[in-house]
Symmetry: C2
């Protein structure tokens, strides 16, 4: 994945997504303005970092009361969101797939998990957490019919590689892969490989180094 797009670093994109979630939370609680150091505190980072991120997207606050929460939400949304909603399919509807679906939908996001694929006869043909589950064999055909742009790979690791070709053939644009098998795609398909083992090993490493 490119580290910079239009000059916005990947890490800033991550934080913008996080800021927005906190801001929406504040907005629901009736908070209209927020200082950069308060927003920073919610994320365990410095106010300088928050201001730098918002400067990067051209947002400046001219009020002494801090940032206008509603305006900032709209501003970040214009950066992050696509004009049209994007549909997501989950490949592998085991514990992880179900956790992601449950967690992600009903959040009122522009992104929505609208289909699941599995090979388990007990799941195929069912609605799981409000999402229809289809057989993996029909993925290529259904993906375009259902206008799927992104997929989450939450299958067992050993079958993940089998999805590469169907994903390419179906014209999928972005892949979020949670298995231990890193997937590679031709240019034009965005892929993020997020192996949970890596995340835990990283935390363990920094704990160990802190001990020294």
């Amino acid at each position: 994945m490119a580290t910079f797009t239009n000059g916005i670093p990947e890490k800033t994109i991550e934080r913008l997504s996080e800021y927005r979630r906190s801001l929406v939370h504040c907005h629901r609680r009736g908070i209209t303005h927020i200082y950069s150091h308060v927003l920073a505190g919610m994320h365990g980072i410095t106010a300088v970092q928050v201001r730098r991120d918002l400067m990067l997207i051209g947002f400046t606050s001219d009020t002494k009361k801090g940032y206008d929460v509603e305006v900032l939400i709209a501003y970040i949304s214009k950066i992050l969101d696509s004009d049209t909603p994007m549909n997501i399919a989950v490949l592998g509807m085991g514990h992880l797939g179900q956790a992601i679906t449950k967690y992600f939908n009903g959040k009122g996001l522009k992104l929505k998990i609208t289909a699941a694929f599995d090979i388990d006869p007990a799941k195929v043909g069912q609605q799981i957490d409000g999402v229809p589950c289809y057989h993996m064999d029909s993925f290529e055909e259904l993906a375009s019919e259902l206008d799927i742009s992104l997929v989450v790979v939450s299958s067992p690791t050993k079958v993940a590689a089998n999805f590469t070709l169907p994903i390419i053939n179906a014209g999928i644009k972005g892949v979020l892969n949670f298995t231990s098998a890193p997937l590679s795609f031709p240019q034009g398909i965005v892929v993020e490989n997020y192996d949970i083992t890596t995340l835990l090993e990283k935390v363990a490493y920094f704990v160990k180094e802190g001990d020294n």
Copy 2:
């Protein structure tokens, strides 16, 4: 989290964890040597990146057959692993907690999920995927008894903040938080907040930018 520790960037630590997993996979299949470009290809990155990462940890290959797989696994393990195994507790044994436990254990890693905590009476007192599940109320007391150093927070987002104090009091050293509530801890406790929404929004953003 610090970006550099002993001069090794965070991203390099992530990749070392990933290289090791691929190398162990190769080793099991009887592969004794591997070229940097082959290892790079498995991870969708350049050979230069692989060589730079390994140079950073002081590993150099002097064979024309590429890196010695077994030697490189041992070398990376010396960097990543603690001398003593670290025990992990999962806080929240819903779909996500169970997915992580099933996925993580039985991999023969130095890190091991040895306890789970929940408040669901149907789960407390049971073994789930081979891991005993205790009541969340007993976490502070049991964590030191069971020698837990790391926790994975996979509870519903709205209760995650309640864990901050028990985690501090129990002397936990590292936290991997998958909820939407970013958690902050005093210095000395390593925390990684990995909200799945952020990961998906990031992929969607780069897809959108690629479209332009």
